[in-house]
Amino acid sequence: MAYLTRTLPKRVFTPSLPQSIRQTRAITITTLQPTPTRPTQTTRTSKPRQLPQRTYHSALHARLPDHSYTNSQTAILTSALAHVPAHGFTATALTLGARDAGFLDVSVQLLPRAEFDLILFWLASRRGLLRGQVEEGGLFRRIAAEKGKDIHELSVEERVRGLILERLRMNAEVKGVWQDALAQMSLLANIPLSLTELHALASDILTLSGDDAVDATWYTRRLAVSAIYASAEVVMTRDPTPDLVETEAFVERRFEDRKVIADKLIGIGQCAGFGWNTAIGLGRSWGLKI
């Protein structure tokens, strides 16, 4: 018993001690020392473990971080985003961002994927921004007000459409350089991570909209939202209108297409099921042992 009481507080506090030290060290690097001489020594240069995987979610537990960029990487990427509209998703933007954050030019090597890291960070941070807007409650109220409805009357599909458009509008400020980013994302080595990020976005949009599919439609809906969003992104880069009116019309049309296709497939499925049940019932009524 005495042994237990001696070890118990120790077990609780030992893990937290080295962590708090590392944490303060990481913060000191980026905040208290404006020009770190050798940032590579204290931060990991290995590729951040990416792949934002969805796991068990609970309102009672903190959300697991989707990414694991270190503090220094986050600082560089955050300040590099400010240079994206002018310089595009390029090494120049990264270097300027590193300088703004008080790092040496060479510290862009902290980001092993270079420009692609910047693109991923843009996508992930916009996704987080979208989630923030919804969780603070303002976005759906605005969408409902635009349609002249009460917030509870919004259907899931209207919410999904609103979120897709909102996410596209976030891209408006980098519209000029977005084609380059799309080209980067479509490089062979970058495709898996790009698709993962696209799936994470589609999944977030559907979850935030209150979609509660628990069967195969879980997959088809995410596929549909991904397809609509990805194609609308391409359309957006060529959309000359100021408020993305053409893109909005494009998204509307894609949703109509989706509805037509879904109705067709559901109709075919129901017809086949009906035929099958009839055949079985007929067989049983004839006395077949089936």
Binding site: L8, V12, P15, S16, P18, Q19, S20, R22, Q23, A26, I27, T30, T31, R44, P48, R54, T55, Y56, H57, S58, A59, L60, H61, A62, R63, L64, P65, D66, H67, S68, Y69, T70, N71, T74, A75, T78, S79, L81, A82, G97, D100, A101, A124, S125, R127, G128, L129, R131, G132, T207, D212, A213, V214, D215, A216, W218, Y219, R284, K289, I290
Partner: protein, 247 residues
């Protein structure tokens, strides 16, 4: 949710010092890697339950992954179970009308379990298994073919399936109980959802084992090629569980 204000505050102050960001950025999903889960235990001391006195037991990444695959498998299993009973019922009831109430009772319980797990999957934002179309076909075929072999074979099928499912639920209950013991050692307690889930798993396990008893009481051991039949079905169940955990 509980530690995110801390994270955000830390991230934002850090942001303000390092660079005046032009656009607001929510960094709580990009929490710095210094917040490794598993080392994150100290967060639980700051986060108390609303009414209780003990701090909340924080789930690690592995534990969340366990819950993720556990709930996915359970939902897939209940889909299959309902379909098996649904496919067996017409043929069994045709030859043995006295079994109608029993089949209906077992089917209703399985449908209730499925509803429970559908709710849990949606609530905890868990990906349902991608194999569900395949499992649906396989389960319907299994139910139909064993019922075609006769009442004993159908009951042997129930026995095999419920044995596997019962022990599977048992493993999950044991795992959550080990977390509870761990929490006890740390002076923390499991959150309400987990406690409720533990109770649910126990209830469902008992109901599955009750089906097993019904199957044995209805001559499942009399099935003609008993051993090969039961072995094949149990092997299939185990394989399906393993696949559903991942996919």
């Amino acid at each position: 949710m509980l530690s995110s204000p801390i994270l955000r505050r830390c991230a934002l102050t850090h942001c303000r010092h390092s660079a005046p960001a032009a656009t607001p950025i929510f960094l709580d999903f990009l929490a710095p890697s210094t917040f490794k889960h598993g080392q994150c235990r100290q967060a639980s001391t700051t986060a108390g339950t609303p009414g209780g006195s003990k701090p909340l037991y924080v789930l690690s990444k592995e534990q969340r992954e366990f819950m993720d695959s556990a709930l996915r498998v359970n939902q897939a299993g209940e889909i299959a179970a309902t379909l098996i009973y649904k496919a067996q019922t017409p043929q069994i009831v045709r030859s043995y009308p006295h079994l109608r109430p029993l089949m209906k009772h077992m089917y209703d319980q399985e449908a209730g379990h499925l509803k429970t797990f559908n709710h849990l999957i949606a609530k905890h934002q868990i990906r349902p298994t991608a194999m569900s179309p395949a499992w649906e076909v396989a389960a319907t075929f299994l139910g139909w073919s064993t019922a075609a072999l006769g009442r004993e074979a159908a009951m042997a099928c129930t026995e095999a399936v419920e044995t596997e499912i019962g022990s599977h639920y048992n493993d999950q209950v044991r795992e959550i109980l080990s977390w509870e013991a761990d929490a006890e050692r740390r002076g923390e307690e499991l959150d309400e959802e987990l406690k409720e889930m533990l109770a649910t798993f126990r209830r469902i396990r008992d109901e599955e084992l009750e089906h097993l008893d019904h199957a044995v009481a209805n001559d499942s051991k009399e099935a003609k090629p008993y051993d090969p039949l039961v072995d094949v079905i149990r092997f299939g169940c185990r394989a399906a569980i393993k696949i559903s955990e991942k996919v």
